[in-house]
């Protein structure tokens, strides 16, 4: 009895579904592929590194395999002071972002300049590399491209790290991993809308702001302020610290969860953090039995919360 009588139907079905997939997948793919990276996209992609969500190099989303963003204040070779310059340090073995592995992702213009003048093709994972954004001109227009400073100036990751102080180091890349893992994007968006929204939350992103980013983690469900530009609204690390430990310390009506577990076991001075005591004292404070809330422990410099706050500060 087979399918004989359904031959036409089966073909029509193939045609309908295939046609639909052509229109909704193939055509947009051409459009997306023709978009060049903006400065925002380059900065985001090089800060966050290759992949931020689940991948084999960081299967438990602990912030492994991530670059560091360093604000250089002295020339790493000579030690002479210089105007602050932001560089992205990929230490030995750190996977490069998609734009280095497949330069065409950078888009027209950016690709050519980055390969020819920026020498990104010479970057090697085994040796690590230091990248920065540079300005160049392509067909008469001034655009940013990526420069491999290890190839052009001989600044290796080790040399750059040797002059960087801890306050110049941003772990924003690993911080984005925390952002994805902790599900911040179920409440916050990273996408001011193209409506009145932007008057409060800042400019909506543009078409070229995403090249090389994965995942984009826009968020679809907003129960809390948009965070795309939160670092320019609020750049106080202290406020962030209190707010993450317990949002109700600074905003009594907040429904944001506490993220005190991101502090780890030890505080900045290496003391064990007594969470039970803190919570008990906080309850006394909340119920009016104490005048001041308990002190929030300072986070250690390699704690997950430090990474997360670095990431918040990078959202300008």
């Amino acid at each position: 009895m087979a399918f004989r009588e359904y031959k036409i139907g089966a073909r029509m079905f193939g045609l309908a579904l295939g046609g639909s997939m052509c229109i909704t997948l193939l055509l947009p793919a051409f459009d997306f592929a023709s978009v060049s990276s903006t400065d925002v996209a380059l900065d985001k992609a090089f800060t966050a590194g290759h992949e931020t969500a689940f991948n084999l190099e960081d299967p438990f989303l602990l912030g492994w395999n991530k670059p560091l963003k360093i604000t250089l204040k002295a020339d790493p070779k000579t030690g002479q002071p210089m105007a602050a310059k932001e560089v992205y340090v990929y230490q030995t073995g750190t996977t490069f972002p998609a734009g280095i592995l497949h330069p065409r992702i950078l888009g027209k213009g950016v690709e050519e300049l980055s390969v020819q003048q920026g020498k990104i093709g010479e970057a090697q994972k085994g040796a690590g590399a230091v990248f920065a954004l540079a300005k160049g001109s392509f067909q008469g227009a001034e655009i940013s491209y990526v420069e491999n400073l290890t190839a052009t100036k001989g600044w290796t990751p080790a040399v750059v790290m040797s002059v960087a102080k801890d306050e110049d180091v941003s772990h924003a890349g690993a911080g984005k991993t925390m952002f994805v893992r902790e599900g911040c994007w179920w409440c916050h968006t990273l996408l001011p809308e193209q409506t009145q929204d932007w008057q409060v939350f800042g400019a909506p992103p543009m078409l070229g702001d995403f090249n090389g980013e994965s995942p984009t983690a826009f968020g679809s469900d907003r129960k809390a302020p948009d965070l795309l530009h939160v670092g320019s609204r609020n750049s106080s690390r202290e406020w962030m610290m209190l707010h993450f430990f317990n949002p109700r310390l600074v905003q009594p009506h907040s429904i944001m969860p506490r993220f005190d577990y991101l502090w780890g076991d030890k505080d900045a001075s290496g003391q064990k953090i007594d969470f039970d005591k803190w919570r008990a004292e906080y309850i006394q404070y909340r119920d009016g039995a104490r005048v001041t809330p308990p002190e929030v422990p300072a986070y250690s410099k390699n704690s997950e919360i430090r990474y997360l706050i670095d990431y918040m500060m990078s959202l300008k």
């Binding site: 639909s20 996408l191 984009t216 969860p257």
Partner: protein, 468 residues
């Protein structure tokens, strides 16, 4: 059931796999709605169970969503396919053994995936949150075996034509495999940027549009004629429904990203196609309601019909919302607000769940050949679901409108949070009713299997009077 996993196919009693799928789905329903109610409590009272990452909202939300979509809804679909596909082909299921293994692989894979999500191991992409290893597993060990079983049963049928329900089943199991493999390309091949963002919503849209909606509708095409004894009102309208699903439902993925910087043509195209989803929706609803002609008393008297028709009636507001909320004129107001959460639950907890619940009620009674243990418990289940869902939907819709107003009038965010608080509590209460109803349901079905009155050979469950 598990003892049959290594039995010969011929030795496995007919319907075993359907029973296994059916009970699994109810258990997932209880777990999934329990998690939902827990999440709702956290949004109402943020310090309820705090300071532990495993009970943080950001770790639990996606576990709820995936437990209900892939545990409850999809396994109820599996159950429906295991008994409806052969019944409509006047034949046996191609392989009971494959069916049993499929359900086992499904339970194992899903549990593993949910534990990973719970621990925060996520792809960071909404609805395709599972890491790509799990996505591959789902496509190859969950969707493909189901696809093979359904297709082989349809091919080996002993009827001339293929009935409407089976067109939908056969095409949906095929499409869901394609959707899983295509929608997760960004994870398999590390596609980035807008391609990743867009494919995330291409996946999300099509999993709803080419899997959940058509299979749920297909179930109603079976249950209503079967229980009322009326033939389907129109085979032609069924055709219209089927083809318009394939053409109009598979194309508007970009309407989920109306406020994102996608190419304008893509958004406009998606928006027009989105309104056209009203074609299959109207075809479906009218076809089912007209099939009821002369049998409306069963809407009151019969539990399966009551569930199905309630679900079908909920498809009306659902599609009216769906068709219009994605146009630019409306989307800018409600995008990203609780309105969308209400809409999502209208689709999944309202429309879809009610149809599947009927299929599971009916199927288990038919296969086990036992009459439902207690109508009273069934009635309580129905009303807890309906009242609980309605409370959820109304409160979240209001919360969404408040958020929308806050968004465009630039109200300080915290005032929106404060204004939403009562609705968050109402949502939690509503959701907890649904959860309670499901616990009763599990008990009721368990007792049906053990103590329900035996249905004589050649009789249908609805021909017997309820006893308790």
């Amino acid at each position: 059931m598990l003892k049959y996993l290594f039995a010969k196919n011929e030795d496995i009693p007919e319907g075993s796999s359907a029973v296994y799928w059916g009970f699994s789905s109810i258990v997932w329903f209880v777990i999934g709605t329990g998690l939902g109610s827990f999440n709702a409590a956290k949004l109402a009272f943020p310090d309820f169970v705090t300071g532990n990452e495993f009970f943080a909202f950001g770790h639990m939300r996606q576990v709820h969503v995936h437990a209900v979509i892939f545990g409850w809804i999809s396994m109820a679909f599996g159950m429906a396919m295991m008994y409806i596909t052969p019944a409509l082909g006047n034949t046996k299921l191609w392989s009971e053994k494959l069916g049993l293994w499929n359900a086992t692989l499904w339970n194992v894979g899903l549990s593993l995936g949910l534990v990973l999500l719970w621990a925060g191991v996520s792809s960071g992409r909404e609805y395709s949150d599972f890491p790509w290893v799990i996505d591959l597993y789902i496509a190859l060990f969950m969707a493909v075996p189901l696809c093979i079983n359904v297709w082989m049963t349809v091919i080996n049928r002993r009827t001339q034509g293929i009935y409407t329900t089976n067109w939908f089943f056969a095409s949906a199991v095929f499409m869901v495999a394609i959707v899983f493999l295509t929608g997760n390309l960004p994870e398999f091949f590390h596609l980035t940027g807008l391609t990743e963002a867009y494919l995330t919503w291409w996946f999300a849209h099509n999993v709803l549009g080419l899997w959940i909606t058509p299979v749920a509708a297909a179930i109603a095409y079976y249950t209503i004629p079967k229980v009322t004894g009326n033939p389907l009102y129109s085979h032609r309208i069924g055709h219209l429904h089927f083809w318009s699903v394939v053409v109009f439902y598979s194309t508007p993925a970009a309407h989920h990203l109306m406020s994102a910087p996608l190419p304008e043509w893509l958004k406009s195209f998606a928006s027009v196609e989105g309104v056209l989803i009203l074609v299959p929706a109207i075809a479906f609803v009218s076809n089912i309601l007209l099939t009821m002609t002369g049998k409306w008393h069963m809407f009151v008297e019969n539990l399966e019909i009551r569930f199905t028709i309630t679900g079908v009636l909920m498809a009306i507001p659902l599609n009216m919302q769906g068709g219009f909320q994605q146009t630019r004129a409306i989307n800018w107001y409600i995008h990203g607000t609780g309105w969308i959460v209400a809409h999502a639950h209208l689709a999944l907890l309202g429309f879809s769940t009610f149809l599947e619940a009927a299929a599971v009620y009916l199927g288990l009674q038919m296969i086990l050949k036992r009459k439902l243990y207690s109508l009273t418990l069934g009635n309580i289940h129905f009303w807890l679901l309906l009242i609980g869902f309605t409370t959820y939907w109304v409160s979240m819709t209001i919360a969404g409108l408040i958020q929308g107003a806050g968004k465009i009038y630039e109200v300080p965010y915290i005032d929106v949070v404060i204004a939403e608080h009562p609705y968050m509590i109402a949502r939690w209460l509503g959701g907890t009713m649904v959860f309670t109803g499901n616990v009763l349901w599990l008990y009721n079905m368990w007792m049906t299997a053990r103590q329900g009155t035996v249905i004589p050979v050649g009789r249908m469950p609805h021909e017997l009077a309820y006893e308790r």
